[in-house]
Amino acid sequence: MTKSLLKNTFREIKNSKARFISIMAIIALGVGFFAGIKATTPSMYNLAENYYNEQNLMDYRLVSTVGFDEDDIKAVEKTEGVSFVMPSYFSDAQLSAESGGNVIRLIAVPEKYNENAELNSLVLNEGRMPEKPNEILVEHDSMSGTRYKMGDKITLSKKAGDSDLTEQLNCLEYTVVGLVNSPLYISYERGTTNIGNGKISEYMYIGQDCFKTERYTELYVKADFSEKYSAFSNDYEENSETFAKTLEKTANAQCEVFNKDVIEKSKDELEDAKSEYNDEKSKAEKQLNDAKNKIDESKKEFDEKISAAQDELDNAKAQIESGRNELENSKNEYYSKIASAEDEISKQETQLNNAETEYNKSKSDFDSQITSAQNEIDNGKAEYETAYNEFKNTQEPQLLAGIEQARSAVDSLKAAIAVETNPDVLAVLNAQLEQAQQTLDNLNLQYSQALSQFEEKKSTLNSAQTELDIKKSEGQQQLDLALAQIENGKAALKDGKAELETQKTEGYNKLVEAENSLNSAQSQYENGIKELETQKSDGHQKLDDAQDEYDKEKSKADEKFAEAEEEINNAQEELDKLSSPEWYVFTRDDNPGYSSFSQNADRLDAVASVFPVFFLLVAVLVCVTTMTRLIEEKRTEIATFKALGYSNINIVAKFVIYALIAAIIGSVIGTVIGVCTLPFIIFNAYKIMYYIGDISLVLNVASIVLGIAAAVLCTTVVSIVVCMRSLSHKPAEAMRPKAPKPGKRILLEYVTPLWNRFSFTAKLTARNLFRYKSRLCMTVIGVAGCTALIVAAFGLLNSFDPLTKDQFETIYKYDAVIVPKESGTQKELDYLVSEVESKDNVSNFMLTSQEDATVEFKGQIKDESTYLTVVQSPNELSSIISLHNRKSGRELALTDDGALINEKLSEEFGIKTGDTIKVSGEFGESEVTVCGIFEQYLHNYIYMTPTLYNSLYGKNPSYNILDVKLNDNSQSAQEKFSFEILKDDSIAAVSFIASSLEEFENMLNSLNLVVLVMIICAAALAFVVLYNLTNINIAERVREIATFKVLGFNNKETSSFIYKENIVLTLLGIIVGLVLGIFLTSFIVHTVEIDNIMFGRVIYPTTYIFAAGLTMLFSLIVNAVMSFKIKAVNMVESLKSVE
């Protein structure tokens, strides 16, 4: 390497600063991200290990159903491989309702046992260790804040599940004196227990002397091997498993010793107690029976006497009753008789009155008749007199005159006739005579008639007068008779009235007499009754007293017996429990959070193996492209050096040095920045979930070396390869400009109608794109890679979303969970339901049974965070929890045909609808068909109907949770509700979905930070890559750009030639990148998922828009920056023939 070649190299760097820096930046980003993320996992492991070492975390925790004594401890200590033992106490308790009702685990503050070191030392964050028995340490939570302050009082509920806490602890009220962190609990998980809702919500530490129990409840064991291996290492895990078996052997041996020493003895004692109890019981029962018989006898006697007296009285009463009835009858008779007599009298009176009235009326009628008849007759007489007088005066003379005249006429005629001979005249005269004769006859007749008429009238009047006179005298006679009768009647009536009065008085007196005698009989009877009552109550009182005394005695005896029996039963139970003593050996893996921490770290490592590798890949690829182009551009120069006689190695060295310097500086800068920032940023996020101290950096040398090596090797190897290719040409040939790649017609041109529409720039762009296929591929891949990374980063962010919104709003429709202290009996449930129902704010609720379950499918077993849930009324479930399939969106019905399981579980084990899984737990074990798969993001759930549960496990589910939907879910309403509900003694805890949501959001916010880092890195990479690619593009086409300029194209026109190509390439890259991003996202999301959490599976459209938009934006920014470069292209220099 000559000096001038070196100089040339550095000048090259100086002249192509932008390109050099962009290579450096890309490598820095790629390597830095890779190294940074890769350093995070070991740092986290290291952190945990240091913390464990410092706090001296145990390797095993032994728990026995019967506790441990000194002999047990000695036996464990003697086991080969055990370093030392620390015995301790723990007890699970429930806080009193005022303190919140949570289930807590009380652990004894670690103390040295013999000369051994203390295990599981606490980190005291605030305050001091307990000194008095009523002092307590609570857990310190740096992120969400500790619930208690120093000096707070904590009260424990007396009952802890079935047992009485006072039997285990000396005191139930404590004062908080310190905030601590325990190495046993590094995460937010607190494990499970068998009391309350089964979930321990916090741990607390109290002094060892607070525990009453004689036997230790747990043993912490430190094993020899733990010194040798670091926590979480495979070696540790393997040793831990093997040694656990050794400890189990010791455990079995000790159990047998216990069987022999303790149980046999207790059994005999119990038998003695039992027989004594039975004797006592039968004796007491006999005494009681005697007493009872006596009471019964006297009761009978008393009853007989009373009933005789009662009979007597009843007879008297009946007599009085009948007397009264009789009296009543006589009274009625008396009154009715009087009434009828009175009736009769009044009737007669009326008749008399009527007769009198009639008489009066007849009389007046008669009188008026007589008078009118007399008047008529008188009138007739007067009329007759008048008519007769008139006749005599006028008519008679007239008639008589007429007659005389007629007679004379006749006579004259007769005379004439006789004279006359003429027949004719004679005939006429005869006729006239006849007429005159007739007139005379008529007049005679008239006259005689009138006379006889008057005669007749006069006799009629006379006879009428006679008749009237007779009538008058007859009528008078009759009237007089009637009057006499009436007078008689009146006299008789008066007599009747007088008689009635006398009878009335007489009858009444008799009645009064009878009533008086009845009343005296009644009062006698009543006195008798009163006397009987007094006697009766006296007797009852005496009897009751006797009964009471008996009952008292009996209940006393019963109580005593029950007590004795319970004692015996307890003893029996205790013995039963003891008779199968069992030791449990727990490893560190069983510590809540221990395995999840390592899982999380591993998952992070998985992300680190995917995302940054891809990142690095893109970076290296782009660097390779850049170097290739750089070398190709320098072809003439290479040839010149060669012609000057430089060796190939020297010439290659120039480019290798160029690449090396860029790669090394880039890698170093990237590594330093990446390693110094990323682990801290990421661990900060995890600190929300884990308390394990503060992170200190552990370099993952392997991955740093790997990252740097990948970057350096790729760039240098490519430099060498491309350089060698250039060198393979003869110098003379190479010195000439590389024949430009001939322009070619592209397929598109044959589509003439389309092609003809293209502008020049479009044609040029199209041809250019296809002319440099490798450049097209490189650019597209580079841009696609960046876009995919952005999609993946945003996609990861999207995948967190359903954990909050979908889970807590769409799926969980209820607002609160109520946990009763006791559950199981129908009475308790009914009470609980009525209690909750009575609250105004409750809109709906559902009794639910939730139990820890283990699921088995095709040899795969899941027992962590897996619950069997049975709801009381499956038909109403949809208003409390929405069980729906995520893909179809269909609401799933819970039927008796089978169980519903969550998506994560189905996905992990490959369970499909219709498959059969085995669900087991404390409730039993059974196989069940899967009927549907529902959307659920947290934990694993198997839902069943009560009927199905019953048919599978042969018993009814015991409902231990109440999901409640509130009308008003505001903060204040929640507080009010919780306060009211917790007042009830039977309710252990109330928790609200809203607060869980908040907790979860906090946790996810920290993950968001990790993703933000990814997004920023991906965006930065995208920017640099685009800049670099565009830069190269321009560098390669300086000549063309100059030509355009000379031809008089203005800057805008010239730039558009370059831009169009860039934009098309970027668009192509974006499209490929979006597709690639889907796969990358899905891969990353699946890798990152923690066991009991399902991340969202949907990439939002906004993600694509963001990714495409960001890439496009960067492309446009780069173009804008590049336009200055295009403007600066010097026409003169560029066209100065070949260099």
Binding site: P740, G743, F760, K1045, V1132
Partner: protein, 233 residues
Amino acid sequence: MSLVEFKNVYKRYKMGEIIINAVDGISFKIEEGEFVIVVGASGAGKTTVLNILGGMDNCTEGEIVVKGRDISKFNDKQLIEYRRFDIGFVFQFYNLVHNLTAKENVELAAQICKDPLDSEKALESVGLLDRKDNFPAQLSGGEQQRVSIARALAKRPGLLLCDEPTGALDYNTGRQILKLLQKTCKNDKMTVVLITHNSAITPMADHVIEMKSGKIVRDIYNENPKSVDEIEW
């Protein structure tokens, strides 16, 4: 008034402490329709003069009047328009766009002008109509240079500037190109300014300007310019 007039034009480059006068106070005139040859050895400053005249470079001092406008005072935008409408360029290395066919290369220039010559006619005038659909790579050097001339002519420029147009061509092809240029000048009344280091071809010009070290050493007019056929070199 002359078509072009250089008045005391300087072009200075500053190289550290030293100032180099690439063009050292030159003045000359070019009339419309002239065939001008600027001749000089390498480094005489003739290309600089051409670049300045073509609006690709600025002079440091002096006045350059083209068609009555002082282009030395032009800003970038005015210079672009000047290049666009007034100048046709022919380069030594043709500088065709490889991705465009012969015809398209001509059209490329034509499309940005106000009143361009029909591309096919331009190609016809350089005798390459039958090769219009070929890409530059499919043409010989002479043919490429002719396309380049056609491209310049299509713009109907006021001035055709040629920078060593025969520099990369063999003798015979060079002759053809010169002939074409002469013909264009005569027939189309095109003002042609040609730069060459080969003084043997100066007799074909109407006007010969010889430069040396940035200065004009000779500025003569040929009474009787010779046809290219009459010249040998």
